[in-house]
Each structure stands twice: as structure tokens, then as C-alpha cells.
Amino acid sequence: MSAINWIGRLLGWLLLTAFQVLVLTQLDLGALLHPYVFPMFAMLLPFSVPRWLVLVLAFIAGLVVDMFNNTPGMHAAAMVVMAYLRPAILKMLTPVSGYEGIEYPSFMRLGFIWFLLYCLSMAGVHHLVYFQLETLSWTNFPYTLLKSALSLLVSVFLMINFAFIFSSRKSAERK
């Protein structure tokens, strides 16, 4: 992995975080729709990044959003659970040809359906943990579940759009 690669990822993370806290959180889509796209940063880390580093980066990314949103620890907790389950989810979704020669969970290399399932399961974990911590009660669980599911649909829609924009820009650079 080259140094340029890491700078690009850092910029991507800053962009996602800024979009999350300055635009998405400020939007009023009602009490049931709270989309979160920043988990994408940890989702798209290269396969070669060691597991412990994925955990640490996910924790930091969550904590930064927590600071802006005044939700101390909630996103960090959700991100760490998501990052811990990442290898299991990747294994569950292993394509027939495996991940050989693929650098990171890419929409271009692994296909739309694969990417959709990956986003749904990873962001699904994040959303469930986060919304459960936000309400901190089990009596409202059906409501939390509904909120997670509806928000997840919007989040994944936005993630796919982001992935599309980034990958088309990258392929344009290659030409």
C-alpha cells in the first residue's frame, strides 16, 4: 500500500465525516429517518489492513462523529462492533472466485449485488447498535428496529451513490 493511497483515504474520511455532521445530521427527515454514511470509511478499508487497526480506525471515526453530534461513545461503540464483525461478514459474502487480487471491498470489482448486501449487513450492524444505545431501553425495541430499517435504506442508497461517484472519478483519473 502506497502513501498516496493513505492520503486519499484520509481525505475520503474527512469528506464523509464533514458530509455526515454538517449536512446529513442537520437534515430534518422526521424522527424515523436518521441516515449515517460515515461507517463507509471503515467498510471500504483494504483487506490488507490488520484487524486491530480496522478496530482502532473505526473507533476514532465513530468518536469524531460523536463529538459533533453530542452522542458520546454511541457511534464509537457501534463502529467497533461493526469493525469486529467485518471479517465474518466478508467471509459470509465470499464470492465464488474469492477475494484474490482485489484490494478493498470495491463496488466495481465485486459487483452491485455483492456491494449492496455488504452495505446492508455492515451498516445494518452499525445502525442497530447505535439506535439501541440511543434509546437505551428494550421496551421500545420494535420502534428502534423500524427506525434502524428505514434509516438503513436511506444510508445504503447514499453509500452506493458515494461509491459510484468515487469509483467513476478514479476510473476517469486512470484514463
Binding site: 427527515l29 468518536l63 459533533f68 461513545g73
Partner: protein, 279 residues
Amino acid sequence: MRSFFLFLIRNHVFFIFLLLELTALWLVFSNNRYQKSAFIHSANVVTGDVLNTYGDLTRYFYLKQENDSLQAENARLLSLMPDATSADSVASVAVRDSAGAVLYSYQPAQVINNTYTFPNNYITINKGSRHGIEKDMGVITSSGIVGIVKEVSPDFSVIISVLHGSFHTRVAVQKNDEQGRLVWDGKDSRIVKIIDVSEPGKLEQGDSIVTTRFSMAFPDGYPVGVLESYGKETGSNFYTLKVRLSTDFSRLRYVYVVDYLLKDQQMELELNNNSNVGN
């Protein structure tokens, strides 16, 4: 010992996971118990500056709306001038006690971060301890109450919004001074409930709800909202009032932090009194 280290190294991913997760959960729960979380909030140097700069940029889009509301506020204040009211009017002495001392001072501030669709909402403003803002001060806007200061840094403050699970204040029906506790159930950002009202008497839709002097955060008699409906709680002797807030949290831009200048005096007196009763 050697095998213990080998065990740690072999399972290092799990232990790092455990460490990070417990740290995060500790932050979640320690904050819920109202302990001071050192820096994880939107009033620290980095988050405050980013939000403030972004606020400066976007504020221009709301200038017209803001002018209208400031003009309306000016008009309201003009109507409170001594010339505009008769000598025995209560409103004109609202900020002074009978001896003529100033009771409240107001610090204007701009909202740089605000949510109102979460189960617990916070507001960040661009004034802090350098401007004399302290924890537990009340925050109001021209139309109604906003919240209570929770965290203060030199240049920014975080406010617990009225739309927050742990926000409580005593309010009263203006016309007959029947009191109760204002709470928010986390659903509609325009509706709050007043609980524990013992005997509300005959009320009508549209009756004004105001703050009481029992809350040291807000000036006495400041608007909170208007009555929507009310009824007796099942299995209880108390009534619950449904109230439409007069503050529109979706367009919160300019607020005032209320400093009740006699707060220390009043609190000291009440504490002394309580300890005497205890003896």
C-alpha cells in the same frame, strides 16, 4: 506467565475489541449519569470552530427570516417601554425587583449546531465562559424557552434542549398559576407534556403556559407554549396537559442566555434553610 502472554497475543484482536468497546460504552453510560465527559462534546476547540465557520457560511441564507423575527422582537420590546405601558403594569418591571435592582441579564448568542429529531437533542452556541456563561443557566429565544446550559468551554457552550429526555422545569398555566413539570416524550418536536398537575381548574385550548419563579434558569412568566388538550392520567389523581411549544426548534438561529443575578443568594438561602430543617 509466558503462556498468558501467548494467549494475549493470539487473541489480541478480541482484546482490542473489548477494550475499545468498553471505553465507548463507558462514555455512553457515564454521560447518561450526568458526569462531565472531558472533551466528547460539540463545544471543544475543534468541533466548535468547525461548526462556527460552517454556521457563518450558512447564516446568510436565513437573513430575511432573521430580520423579520428581530423586527418582531423589537416591536415587542418597544411595547414594554415605560412610555408604552401604564405605571402599574407588571410587564415593565419584569426584569427589576421592587427595589429597582436588575434581576436578569441577557447574553445574545448564535446557534451553530442544533438537532430536534433525536430522542435527546443538544444545541451548541458560540458563546462560552469567556462571555460569562455558566453551567445551569437558562437559554431563551424571542418566542419561548430553549434549554439549559450543560457544558461550557471558553468560546462555546452546549445546551440541553427542551427536547431532551432529561430536561425538566416547573411551568404554570398563566391565568390561574396551576403548576406542573414540563417533560418531552421524544416524539413530536412541537409538543411537550406537563405532568403532575393537581387541579387544573377550567382550562381552554389556547391558554398560555409560562415559566415560574421556582425555576432559577428562566425569567418568571416567560412564554413556553399554548394548551392543546388536557385530561386525567388513568389510575392517578394528577392531570396531564398537552402543550404546543411557542419555540420553533427547526428555525433556531439567535438565542439569549439568561443570567439570574440573585441565583447564588437564593440558592444559599434555600440550602441554609434545608439544612436547618434537617437539624
